[in-house]
C-alpha cells in the first residue's frame, strides 16, 4: 500500500507547486504577496526561500497585468502560476482570460500555447462579505480555450494543481478558502488527478448528486443522511467545470435516473444550469424526475453570519432537494 501523509488543503497546494517547480525550471509563481509572506493565507510560503525571488515574483496590485503577463510569458514558453487572491478580484482580469489567453492559440492559427495557471479563492462561509465571497467559475466555464478546475479536498487539490501546471492551456484553479485547513491522508508519492474527469465518490443507485468544489463536503454529509433514510445516492465530485465532464454525469444518471447538482455559486446561470440543460436534452427519457439544483439564491452574499448561512447551500438543503425528487 502507498505511503500516506496527513496534510491540509493549503499545504497540498503548496507542495504541488513546489514539486512542479523542482521538476521544471520554467514554472514560477507570481502575484500580490506570493513571494515574501506566501500570500495572505500563506499558501505559497517557503517557495521564495527555496527558489529565489526570480521564481517567486511579487507584483503591484494589477490583476489584469498579472494575467496579461501570464499570457505573454506562456506564449514565450514559461509556465506561470499566478495568484489572484479572492475570486471577486478576477473581475479585473476577465479581459485577459476571455479575449486574450483563451483565444490566443486559436486566433493565431495554433502558433502558440498558453500554459499558465491562475489561482483564485472562493470564500463563502468565511464571513468576508460581498466583495470577497463570490463564486464566479460560471463565467469561465463559458470560455472555450481554457480550463477551470475546482478541487474539493487535499487529495484533489494536490493532484489537480500538478495537472494544471503541466497543462498547455490556461487553467483557472479555484481554491476553497473555507476548507484550507481541513486535513486528509494523501499519498506521499507523486500522483496526478486528471483534468476533465469527475470523481465517483460513492456509488449509488437511487439518485446522482454532482458536487462542485468544497460543496463535496456538504454532499458527503447528505449522502450519509440519505443512506440512513434508505436512499442510495451516487456522489460525483465534478472537479473540472470547463470542459464539463458530461460523459461521467450521463453514465451515472443512466444508472440512477435522477440528478441533483450542488454548488456554492448562484443557481441562476451557474454550472448547474448547463448540466441540467444538457442532461435533460441528452437523457430526456431516462429521467424519472426533473434535474434539481441546490445552489445560492439570486441575491448578494452577506458578511452577516446568519444571512451568509441562509445564502449558502448545505447538506440539509441538499437532502431536502433529493427527497423532493424521490416522491
Amino acid at each position: 500500500m502507498a505511503e500516506m501523509k496527513k496534510i491540509n488543503v493549503q499545504w497540498a497546494i503548496n507542495h504541488a507547486i513546489a514539486e512542479e517547480m523542482r521538476r521544471d525550471p520554467s514554472v514560477f509563481i507570481i502575484g500580490e504577496d506570493v513571494g515574501g509572506p506566501g500570500g495572505p493565507f500563506g499558501v505559497t510560503r517557503g517557495i521564495k526561500a527555496e527558489f529565489g525571488p526570480e521564481r517567486a515574483v511579487d507584483t503591484p496590485i494589477s490583476e489584469g497585468a498579472i494575467v496579461g503577463l501570464c499570457c505573454g510569458a506562456a506564449a514565450a514558453g514559461l509556465r506561470p502560476v499566478a495568484e489572484i487572491m479572492f475570486m471577486n478580484f478576477i473581475t479585473l482580469a476577465v479581459e485577459e482570460f476571455y479575449n486574450q489567453g483563451s483565444k490566443m492559440r486559436w486566433m493565431f492559427g495554433g502558433q502558440v500555447k498558453q500554459p499558465f495557471v491562475v489561482r483564485a479563492m472562493t470564500a463563502g462561509g468565511f464571513g468576508a462579505g460581498p466583495h470577497h465571497s463570490s463564486s464566479l467559475e460560471g463565467w469561465f466555464a463559458s470560455m472555450p480555450g481554457m480550463k477551470v478546475v475546482m478541487p474539493s479536498n487535499a487529495y484533489t487539490a494536490k493532484g489537480l494543481m500538478k495537472s494544471a501546471i503541466r497543462d498547455d492551456n490556461p487553467v483557472l484553479y479555484v481554491e476553497p478558502l473555507s476548507s484550507y485547513t481541513i486535513k486528509q491522508d494523501i499519498p506521499v508519492d507523486e500522483y496526478l488527478v486528471p483534468i476533465g474527469k469527475a470523481e465517483v465518490v460513492t456509488q449509488g443507485s437511487d439518485v446522482t448528486i454532482v458536487s462542485v468544489g468544497r460543496m463535496r463536503l456538504e454532499a458527503e454529509k447528505a449522502v450519509a443522511k440519505l443512506k440512513a433514510d434508505g436512499i442510495n445516492a451516487e456522489l460525483l465530485d465534478l472537479l473540472t467545470v470547463n470542459p464539463l465532464p458530461m460523459e461521467d454525469i450521463y453514465a451515472s444518471v443512466k444508472k440512477t435516473n435522477r440528478l441533483v447538482i450542488i454548488h456554492e455559486a448562484k443557481e441562476v446561470m451557474g454550472i448547474g444550469a448547463e448540466i441540467a440543460a444538457s442532461v435533460q436534452e441528452k437523457l430526456f427519457d431516462w429521467l424519472d424526475a426533473p434535474v434539481a439544483r441546490c445552489a445560492a439564491p439570486f441575491t448578494h452574499i452577506a458578511f452577516q453570519p446568519l444571512l451568509e448561512k441562509h445564502y449558502l447551500p448545505n447538506a440539509d438543503k441538499l437532502v431536502a432537494k433529493v427527497k423532493g425528487l424521490m416522491g
Binding site: F89, H132, P297, A302, F303, L307
Partner: protein, 319 residues
C-alpha cells in the same frame, strides 16, 4: 495660514474619535463578538481628520477597506457604524455588508470598498455630478499606495483631468500593501510626481502632522472648487495594527513600529496643543472621555439591536 483654536480642537477631536472607535473595535473583534474581516487604521488618524475638517456634508468622500477613520472624520453617526460592524439591523447598511462596505450618504460618505482602487472610478461620478449640477462641492477619494498600481488609479486620474472634475486624490502611504512593502508597488520615491503626467498638482506631505494635512488639503480643495480639475495629495503615515486584525506582522523590520509609535499623530498633536496652550491635559482628557462614552454607547446600541431577518437578504436588490 493661521489655524484657529476652534479648528485645532476640531482636528484633535476628529482624531481622537477615530482612534477610540478603532481601539474599541479591536477589543470586540478579538473577543469574537464582531464577525467578519477587519482592517483598522490606528496611526493614520491625522489624514482623515485634516482632510474632512475642510469638507461639508455636501462634499463627498470615498474610502477603502480601511475606511472607518475616514467615515468618522467625515461626521457619520457612530451608533449605526458600530451596529453595522456587529451585523445588526440598525447598522448603517442594515448589518448586511460590514466594515468594508460602509456608506452614510447623508454625510457624504459614498462608500468604502473591498476592491482596491475601485473607489476612484466611482468617485469620478460624484465629482461629475457636482460639476454637472454646477455646485461648488468636491469629491475626495482616499486610497493606499498599493492602490496606485491599479488601472483604476490611472483611468480615474486621467479622466478627472480630461473632464476637469472636482476630485481630490488622497493617497495614504503606510509603507505596506497587505504584507508587501511599497517598493514592490512603486518604482519612485514619491507617487505625487505622477500628477504631472496629467497636468495636475501633486504634493507629498507628512501625513502624521494633522495641521499640515489640514493646510495642504485646503489648497487642494480650493483648486478643485475653482474648477481646475484633480489634485494629488500624498500623505506619509503608518498603520499601527496589522493589515487585518489577526495579522502577525512578521514582515515588519525590527523596531519599525516602535519608531512610528513615537510619531503617533495624536501624541504629537497633544504635545503641540499643550505647548501652544490650546488645550490642557484635562481638556484633552475630557474630549477623550466624551468620545469614549460615545463609543461605549454605540457598542451598547449595537448589542441591543436585532439580528437581521433572513428576508433582508432579498430586500433592496432592485430599486
Amino acid at each position: 495660514m493661521k489655524i484657529s483654536k476652534d479648528v485645532k480642537i476640531d482636528l484633535y477631536t476628529r482624531m481622537v474619535r477615530q482612534r477610540i472607535f478603532e481601539d474599541e473595535t479591536t477589543v470586540n473583534f478579538a473577543s469574537g463578538e464582531m464577525p467578519g474581516f477587519l482592517h483598522l487604521s490606528q496611526g493614520e488618524d491625522a489624514v482623515p481628520a485634516g482632510v474632512c475638517a475642510n469638507l461639508s456634508n455636501e462634499d463627498a468622500i470615498y474610502t477603502t477597506h480601511r475606511g472607518h477613520g475616514c467615515i468618522i472624520a467625515k461626521g457619520a453617526e457612530i451608533k449605526p457604524m458600530m451596529a453595522e460592524l456587529f451585523g445588526r439591523i440598525d447598522g448603517c447598511c442594515k448589518g448586511r455588508a460590514g466594515s468594508m462596505h460602509f456608506a452614510d450618504v447623508k454625510t457624504g460618505c459614498m462608500g468604502s470598498n473591498g476592491i482596491v482602487g475601485e473607489g476612484m472610478r466611482i468617485a469620478l461620478g460624484t465629482a461629475f455630478a457636482q460639476k454637472y449640477n454646477k455646485t461648488n462641492n468636491i469629491t475626495v477619494v482616499f486610497f493606499g499606495e498599493g492602490a496606485t498600481g491599479t488601472g483604476a488609479f490611472h483611468e480615474s486620474f486621467n479622466m478627472a483631468a480630461t473632464l476637469k472634475l472636482p476630485l481630490v486624490f488622497v493617497c495614504n502611504i503606510n509603507l505596506y500593501a497587505q504584507m508587501t512593502p511599497k517598493s514592490v508597488h512603486i518604482a519612485v520615491e514619491d507617487v505625487a510626481v505622477r500628477a504631472a503626467g496629467y497636468g495636475a498638482p501633486g504634493v507629498t506631505i507628512d501625513g502624521n502632522d494633522v495641521e499640515k494635512v489640514y493646510e495642504e488639503f485646503a489648497k487642494a480643495a480650493k483648486h478643485a472648487r475653482a474648477g481646475k480639475g484633480p489634485y494629488l495629495l500624498e500623505c506619509k503615515t503608518y498603520r499601527h495594527h496589522g493589515h487585518f486584525e489577526g495579522d502577525p506582522c512578521n514582515y515588519r523590520p525590527e523596531g519599525e513600529l516602535e519608531e512610528w509609535m513615537k510619531k503617533d499623530p495624536i501624541v504629537l498633536y497633544e504635545k503641540k496643543l499643550k505647548k501652544e496652550a490650546v488645550l490642557t491635559d484635562k481638556e484633552m482628557q475630557a474630549i477623550k472621555d466624551t468620545a469614549r462614552k460615545e463609543v461605549i454607547d454605540a457598542v451598547a446600541f449595537a448589542r441591543a439591536s436585532a439580528m437581521p431577518e433572513v428576508e433582508e437578504l432579498y430586500k433592496d436588490i432592485l430599486a
